[in-house]
């Protein structure tokens, strides 16, 4: 995997291999928080931040601690603990030192621990054997890709709520999934430019 440059990987993680639209990760918060644009972007920002750092930390933990001791099977438990601990630390630090940022991201941070996209990015990084730099770049790119997707859908849903009449049963998750399908179709235009698997 070393032949992929960091810039290419960053682009690929946002567009061709968008973690939400092609790998289906992070759908739960995506469906429930995307009702208004501002909240969607707030959550997206928190995801970018946490994903970048946890991908790096988990890379170090996996290759420096788990792999030399042949404990690879414990990576699920260790990764989830690292993510939970990191989120907790960030929440405390932000609340203490950056109250303005806490006001924006605060309520979203606890939600992040159970966001499958965060753990997913760490697991993909292990399976695809990324180097440390690649892992961090991949984490950042995936986070931005996720934020992009939830931001677009948040904006569309806000518009739909104001202007359209939907058939019964379709409002809420139904229409969101169909919009996501269309969006995913749109993002397929990028596929073929770069291949990372």
């Amino acid at each position: 995997m070393t032949e992929i440059s960091a810039g290419t990987l960053f682009f690929a993680a946002i567009f061709t291999n968008n973690i939400l639209l092609t790998n289906f990760l992070g759908l739960c918060p995506y469906l429930s928080i995307s009702r208004d644009y501002k909240a969607a972007l707030g959550l997206g920002g928190a995801v970018v931040f946490v994903m970048t750092f946890t991908a790096g930390i988990n890379h170090l933990v996996y290759h420096q601690v788990l792999a030399p001791m042949n404990l690879e099977h414990f990576r699920y438990i260790v990764f989830i603990i690292v993510i939970a601990a990191f989120v907790q630390l960030v929440e405390m630090a932000v609340e203490r030192y950056l109250p303005a940022l806490y006001f924006v991201l605060g309520i979203f941070l606890p939600l992040i621990t159970v966001n499958c996209a965060i753990l997913g990015a760490s697991l993909f990084m292990v399976i695809r054997a990324y180097t440390f730099t690649q892992a961090v770049v991949y984490g950042a790119g995936s986070g931005i890709g996720w934020m992009l997707a939830i931001g677009i859908v948040g904006a569309i849903r806000e518009k739909i709520q104001k202007t359209s009449q939907l058939p019964p049963g379709l409002e809420g998750p139904g229409i969101t999934l169909i919009i996501t399908g269309v969006l995913s179709l749109a993002f397929m235009v990028f596929s073929g430019m770069i291949q990372i698997q």
Binding site: L25, L27, F74, Y76, L177
Partner: protein
Amino acid sequence: MADQTPGRIFRQGLFTENPIVRHVLGICSTLAVTNLVVNTLVMNAGLLFTISMSSLTVSLLRTVTPVRIRMMVQTLIIASYVIVVDITLKAYLPEISDALGPYVGLIITNCIVMGRCEAFARNNPPWPSFLDGLATGLGFSMVLLAIAVVREILGFGTLLGARVMPEGFVPWTIMIMAPGAFFMLGLFVWFVRARFPDLFEGSGESRIAPKGSP
């Protein structure tokens, strides 16, 4: 909540409280593997094992778990069972294990598993909790299997690897790619909600996603 009969638990898990159509939660890791029925079956088996065993364990430990750290305890219990599933798959079904990739590990963050532990298992005796996990898992598997069957038939023209469509059938490539899964699930949720509106009495947008809560 204490006098839950098995029949009632199963009816809730399979229909009235079906995790997918009612809450549309926990689909992340599982929707991804619905392009082949075989993969879906294996994934669902892993999920059923994880959800019922972790409900059972959480329930057995419910009197000794400190309330403040219960989330962490639940996560660790779930993660332990997922590791068991992962190792078993690697040993006995290596090809499917490769195809599922990281998605088996992602059962840990499946909201439904933790949701059942949190909502049911930690306040109920072990046996009903086990059944509740099983019923919820079955309700979940049912929907995903339905989606997988349609996706495999239209996307490959096969069912469980055997050809079912006539020779001249041109496979709908879109069905095996990501958008196909989103469209199928969206249409499915729409159909069920429009066809059985009384099932979702009062389950409007606000019930599905209380603002600011996970």
